[in-house]
Symmetry: D2
């Protein structure tokens, strides 16, 4: 795995988790598909190897200490392994993500310079090729590399920009140093050029524009996204199907989140927040089959919690005889603890898809995402149990009807 945002809480937790499994002191709690057996080509957790970029150049032992996810004994067990993982210089862009910065940047102009974005792309491609040829624990080559975006949320680019419409326009824009191309898209492009599947666990726009889809198919590269479905939205896609099933009409759904980690800090910028709220907001109407007019989603940066997060939901329901009821859900969760195992599963499945010859958007991975990236025109299934069914069907048979019957 080559991770964009390797020094973040999710990535460092994932790296530590794999290391603990290798040491035999971890459990498979939280790993949804630990029980899958006999699936040809599916990588083992213990065989995953990590590299990647981060604007902060600290090694992962230091990063993990800052994030405070691991307990004391776990830190002791994995710190020497984590010390050996040092992020490569990254290609950030303050225009797209204001609250989070760092000085571990690639030594070419990150955007808009006279030399265009091409040198940056070349740099990232070189990173990936070097990792593929010598990233193994023994310094040898890797079987495959999957790029996973775990970086802080960027603001929306202008989705109507013609540069995003076709592969040709996009490549020309890269050459011209078009300053409307966000970093997530640059990484996606580098992954595609290198033949590495690209998984976008963030709300940023990565491979989910026609230009990148075209390029992904052309290069035989699967892409998957976006925005990991971990806490509140995961619960929403569990509860809403039940309310629909019982014909309890959702009159309003109020969701608020408080979190204090680097993610929360990034979202303290209204532009980044808009991206996040965009992916969180869409799940309800599709599941319920009607628009919920009072669907409100809030995210607030609140430091006392650090990586721990709290999501509070209130749902107003109307039942038989028009009588009103309320459900309140309070989820005291750990952001990285929920996200890290999903990232590991995604890497395994994206690799499996590539082995199976698939390219372009992997809609069977909708189970993992708030806003599943599907082929143009396809219906998006949000209900968690339907997504799980479709994913397991694909794992077993190689194909799946993603969208459930309406």
């Amino acid at each position: 795995m080559a991770v964009v945002g390797l020094g973040g809480a999710v990535a460092s937790t994932a790296v530590a988790g794999v290391e603990l499994l290798r040491l035999g002191s971890g459990t498979t709690d939280g790993l949804p598909f630990a029980g899958l057996e006999g699936v040809a080509g599916l990588a083992r957790y213990e065989d995953l190897v990590f590299g990647g970029w981060d604007l902060c150049g600290d090694n992962l032992a230091k990063a993990a200490e800052v994030h405070g996810v691991l307990d004391y004994r776990q830190m002791q067990a994995v710190s020497s392994a984590l010390e050996g993982v040092v992020p490569w210089p990254a290609a950030g862009d303050e225009e797209f993500c204001r609250r989070v910065g760092g000085d571990n940047v690639v030594a070419v102009a990150p955007s808009g310079g006279s030399t265009g974005l091409r040198p940056v792309v070349d740099h990232l491609v070189a990173d990936l090729e070097r990792f593929r040829s010598s990233g193994g624990r023994d310094g040898g080559p890797l079987d495959a590399v999957v790029v996973v975006n775990l970086a802080s949320t960027e603001r929306y680019p202008d989705l109507a920009d013609p540069a995003f419409a076709t592969a040709a326009a996009f490549e020309a824009a890269v050459d011209a140093g078009h300053d409307g191309i966000p970093p997530a898209m640059v990484y996606a492009y580098a992954a595609v050029l290198t033949g590495c599947p690209f998984v976008n666990f963030t709300p940023s726009v990565g491979a989910d524009v026609p230009a990148l889809e075209e390029l992904a198919r052309r290069h035989g590269v699967p892409v998957a996204g976006k925005d990991g479905k971990t806490g509140q939205t995961m619960m929403k896609t569990v509860l809403a199907p039940a309310f629909r099933s019982r014909a309890l009409r959702v009159e309003g759904w109020y969701s608020t989140n408080i979190l204090g980690n680097r993610d929360g800090q990034a979202l303290d910028d209204p532009a980044s927040l808009a991206s996040k709220l965009g992916t969180k907001g869409g799940v309800l109407d599709g599941i319920l089959g009607y628009p919920v007019e009072d669907h409100v989603v809030r995210i607030d940066y609140y430091r006392p919690r650090g990586d721990a997060k709290e999501a509070w939901d209130n749902i107003d329901l109307v039942g038989f005889l028009g009588q009103r009821m309320q459900v309140k859900v309070d989820f005291l969760c750990r952001d990285s603890v929920l996200a890290a195992p999903l990232v590991l599963e995604l890497a395994r499945f994206a690799d499996l898809a590539q082995q199976r010859g698939e390219s372009g958007p992997l809609e069977q991975l909708g189970y993992f995402f708030k806003s599943p990236h599907v082929p143009a025109g396809a219906r998006v299934e949000h209900a968690l149990h339907e997504q799980e069914r479709a994913l397991l069907e694909w794992v077993r048979t190689g194909s799946a009807s993603v969208a459930g019957a309406e």
Copy 2:
């Protein structure tokens, strides 16, 4: 529908709801299968007609006023229709349900008298035959009668009693006036003898003993139960599959309920409460695939809420790296508003099953129950979405594989 406990909050709400639909002033909110169309033989809500027994002889307008579920305008619209529905004398037994009584009782000894239970059974059978032949709105015959048990929860009978093991032993015990036979079983027996499907929406033991199953099959009568899955347990069977799906290990699940209606009053008797907790307690382990040692369920009688109910759950989860998380769910619900529409659906489906020639336990109706009554040896599926899938498959095709893949 012939309802045991016709004067209760659930039954009076169901009757009022059908009346409002007939008047065109109701909506189908809360009716899960209002959208089913073109299913041959499925009764329309508006065609349902109500009779039944209650220890309290007040007409349903008076009962509805006591329960306070309907709002002022709804009461005005339906009160004259409800006044015309007067419960028949009922066959209660203080030995089995202590907190709730009344004086509208059948004029034969309810249990243990020298004359045995046979006269009581004959009385109930006569009630049902009279209702079937002349219960229509115009005084004419009904197409079919379904008996639905909505009475207060009874204490457990002795399930090892040989009287419950075979049809012959049971009928002999009825003749002998065996005092270990609870009222719910007497009603189930009367329904079976009359060829009426029996639906047990309560935790009491009704048709779920071998003797009654044998009789039901012999008389070609479908039976379904038990204990309507309305609020907290419904949510449990929605959330637990999601925790299983995400491999979030459930370390403990604490559930408490406060309610102040007649149901709550009945459960203030520890013996009745034990029956209720029995049906509530079993759902988790089957869904999760491992035993949850700290699964605590409390029900407390608390009068300020009346028919409104509050269910508070706390769930302790263990995720990746052994990290702990918590989910709290607070469901401010209306007991009768959730239950009444399920009762209407059950009557429609039990009737449909009889038209389709089925008899004995209808496992495809598990969707409606906390403790689905299945044929001996069959696995019980508790996950709501799997139950819904199986039910819809049966509706469409006439058969269903109820238990999902393990």
Copy 3:
């Protein structure tokens, strides 16, 4: 009482409540000082008479129906009395309160016209004099008139505006039609000129600028404010003193509110919201004695609840050994039901203060307000129990040491 915003939910609830008390069918639940007896000069609830202004000219029976606070029986009992209460044309200003409007406006230019604000003031003064001389139930004169501002929240004016610094500057600005003077201040000025105590139950800036304080003292008029302390902030001023008492350090306090009434609609305008958050935000630090850096307050307009309101708080505490704890409070309240009785008490006490010869800010009424208006330089006491003690002391003795020992 002459109420600014007479057609709102709080005012119509107050009027209905007094009417029910007069009819003998109300209770004193919610009236904090119903038990005070033998206090010379304190008006009886039943003797209160209501008039006032509103941008919506509907009579109060119609208004009460829209707000939906009263139940059916209460509406029936008071509707004829409420029909007789019709708001006078009001002096609103869209510049200061954008979301809520109406066409029941005074027939002079409300602001900024060539004629200045003086005609508006004269109009309001005439309203008050007419009410005082003939507002009694029998058309006779009233003993006294108290003006209470219950209008929707206005945006902040520019508090550094020299027009607000002295009485002379203010009166000149009124004459000049200065467009920076918000409606609440115009009403306060009219009240002062007429010798009527002015109570500001809203977060708007009314009499809480030096110019108005000077005028109030000069005309012998007591003023009180501001922003009624009803739900979440009331709870905050109860809990925070306890945390201080137990030395539980407040590391963060996250508060969110959802409400769907006209108040909520007004606060959907960010400028009005800022005023509201201003008065809600200040209470913690003063009570605790240190700044709470993560004190976040949110108010969201959410329609399913109407006048019912929900305030959810999460508090992060640090105790012995630096260990963290959390308290969550969910208050399902009725905005108007909490506010209306406080408004009645305020009118009684403001009148009592005037009888006792007081003028200027009444700091002993801090018990009722989120942001007590105190004389310049005085310490503000926020702890509810200290405020109650000071108020009762003043009621009994005519004076009070408001601020508790630090």
Copy 4:
């Protein structure tokens, strides 16, 4: 301090906390009276020294590890000091506390033997005298010894037993080996005989019977109790005064607690639970001035939380116009973290009272207790802010009017 139950979570946390303060690495968070200065005779936290009894003979380092209250760094800092604190053999009685046992018992028959209880009392007196003469850090004498009961909750003794009515009857019963005398009373008696103030932080019956009060006064020994007011009940005595102040009528109050530590285990015995519920149940009516008929308190043993505890409250309120509202409070707290600092304060104040010449029940310490032990016939004040005021008044002046005006 000589602690009954020295190996428990509260005691070991208190010992660790004092050690951290001595090391300069602790803070005064959670210590309510850390800010008191210049009070003659008030001991400093750092000067407290600990001894005491426990049925489990493990040293406190081992105990602290089991309880899991301290974090890793704190454990490292204090473990060597804690290793040096080893509980003395204790005088338990399985008849009074069934769920918690141990084998570190005094070498005389604990109850009902032919030799009577006198040898046990003599043994405890000898423990205290030895501790007083040589318990100092340097092996020298202590200025004073306070006995604090932190043991697991015992079942109620028979309060009508004549043995508890007078000093003479009690001493005769001790001599006779009367088996109705609970261990807490035996410890209280030993403390009194030795001239050591006795503080009862548990719900058990200790010095709160006439016989012990008489003995305490005769020996010039202050006693205080009972049942530390830490979490849910503390909040109750903060919120109830506010509801009373605002005239919000409490129609019902439902409280449930889940906890998994040794305390919770002891309370899993219905007899011990009854004692606990007794002290928790009484606080409301006194504060509100009317009986709350639906006041329900539940405590459930629930292991996933260990020493962490959750208290969930629902309060039903009736306000103006009879309208209903609800408040829910969820307190995620740490039992020992809340209790330990109160224990330290109690020891300091009990000692101060003895220095000031007081004996018998110290009603000014009601601030710390769920069920304040007051002289016979005195009104019990439960409101936290009134208790705090009275305590501070006593600290400053040496006397206090405990009960506020009604």
